[in-house]
């Protein structure tokens, strides 16, 4: 196997440059690549275009990169829960492109399947359709959407092996799996990095060929956005 391991987040992201386009995995704060985001803050890379379903909260997730004004543009489906985001957007400092969630996920996946564009009914007849080609197919309208071209995909998995094979855990899978396929270079941080042979071949969610760099992250906070519980009686 080809060894994809790098030492840590700093090494993994060191050639991410100003103005690059990044896919960043996670849904809300669930399954976000915490270590890579922190390393990007430290590295200070600017003018990033971030494809990510959400934009974190003020003091966690992509919100950290917003605080430091490292993001030029967000491509997301939902960006609530973030006051700094709102301020930057309203002041025009931050560009925002809103994309329907399924279209967003599929645009990531299609990049990994080598399919450069595809039709979807989502957004037909809405402002999302502005400037897009509409095709009628068997009586139904579809928008043509493009696969994303991202310089890097940064994802977080539960387990990974040194060959880059990934297994996600529960709903932390979300956008991490399609993004892991879709980056020109894919960086995976994992909770547990194991030797080859430890992950059953049939249970691998993302084959290592899609993953260029892998490392075991540290100190996962895994913050919960909406802690909803049933009290024990």
């Amino acid at each position: 196997m080809i060894n994809k391991t790098v030492k840590n987040a700093e090494e993994a992201i060191k050639d991410i440059q100003d103005g690059m386009t990044l896919m960043v995995g996670g849904f809300g704060l669930c399954g976000i690549p915490e270590n890579c985001i922190n390393a990007l803050v430290k590295q200070g890379t600017k003018n990033l275009i971030c494809i990510s379903n959400n934009a974190g909260v003020d003091d966690f997730g992509l919100g950290l990169l917003l605080q430091t004004r490292q993001i030029k543009k967000m491509i997301s489906s939902y960006v609530g829960e973030n006051a700094e985001f709102e301020r930057q957007m309203l002041s025009g400092e931050l560009e925002v492109e809103l994309v329907p969630q399924g279209t967003l996920a599929t645009r990531c996946m299609m990049a990994g399947y080598g399919i450069p564009f595809f039709p979807t009914p989502a957004g037909v007849g809405t402002e999302v359709a502005n400037g897009k080609q509409v095709i009628n197919w068997k009586g139904r309208d579809y928008l043509m959407e493009e696969a994303f071209e991202a310089d890097f995909a940064i994802v977080k998995a539960w387990k990974g092996d040194t060959a880059g094979n990934l297994i996600f855990r529960s709903t932390a899978r979300n956008f991490n799996q399609p993004m892991s396929l879709g980056g020109k270079i894919t960086i995976a941080e994992v909770e547990e990095l194991v030797e080859i042979g430890e992950l059953p071949a049939d249970q691998i969610h993302t084959p290592g060929i899609y993953v260029h760099r892998i490392f075991q992250g540290e100190n996962y906070e895994k913050r919960i956005e909406q802690r909803t519980v049933i009290k024990r009686s």
Partner: protein, 219 residues
């Protein structure tokens, strides 16, 4: 007139045994509480769950297991987890039988607006545009009029659209209505104590009243 619980209870009667259902945030989430016992209804959460269960017991919450509203949840036996692309794949391929969601406005042609108010901070459409564009069957849970007393059931939506010609049925605090071919809200049921006249006054779009309109029955 129904309260939110009443709307949820009435919508729960639309849920059929042996179906897959996606529930939006707000009143739709409450519907889960009133699905008849013994019904096998599987809840889909578009972040990647089939077979979503109730909230976890205190201390058992798992940061990796949330629903589309970002709330901690549990999985039922037989649940499956998948990525966001496959999740919307099954939505787009119409494998989900019923979608229940809220709305700010619905037009008499079944257009829906529920994501954006000009002049206000726009948070985004999330999965709503995908859901409404593809769902086999959409029921909207909403208030009949807004806080200013204006009807939200309109000839044409005034707010930016989420999707067109997609809503099949609407349950409000006043009534149950469906959208008819060619346009129009057909009044199917009145909320307890609400007159046809009241509903007429609260409906700006074309209201179709055919014969006696029964009062709805909620346990």
């Amino acid at each position: 007139m129904l309260d939110k619980t009443g709307i949820a209870k009435r919508i729960a009667k639309e849920v059929k045994d042996g179906t897959y259902v996606n529930l939006g945030i707000g009143i739709p989430t409450l519907v889960a509480n009133y699905i008849p016992q013994g019904f096998n209804v599987v809840l889909q959460s578009e972040n990647g769950i089939l077979g979503m269960g109730p909230f976890p017991y205190e201390g058992e919450e798992d940061a990796d297991l949330i629903n589309a509203g970002k709330q901690t949840v549990t999985l039922l036996k037989g649940a499956s987890i998948f990525d966001s692309a496959l999740s919307f794949g099954m939505i787009r391929a119409q494998k989900v039988d019923l979608t229940i969601l809220g709305a700010m406005e619905v037009s008499e042609h079944g257009d829906i607006a529920n994501w954006k108010i000009p002049g206000k901070m726009v948070k985004g459409m999330g999965g709503a545009m995908d859901l409404v564009a593809s769902a086999k069957n959409i029921i909207v849970a909403m208030q009949h009029v807004n806080k200013a007393g204006e009807s939200k059931l309109l000839p044409k939506c005034e707010l930016p659209l989420t999707g067109i010609r997609c809503v099949k049925k609407i349950v409000t605090e006043l009534a149950v209505l469906d959208i008819v071919e060619g346009g129009g809200f057909r009044l199917l049921e009145r909320a307890p104590g609400v007159s046809v006249e009241q509903i007429k006054n609260a409906t700006a779009g074309r209201l179709i009243v055919e014969g006696e309109v029964p009062e709805m029955k909620i346990d």
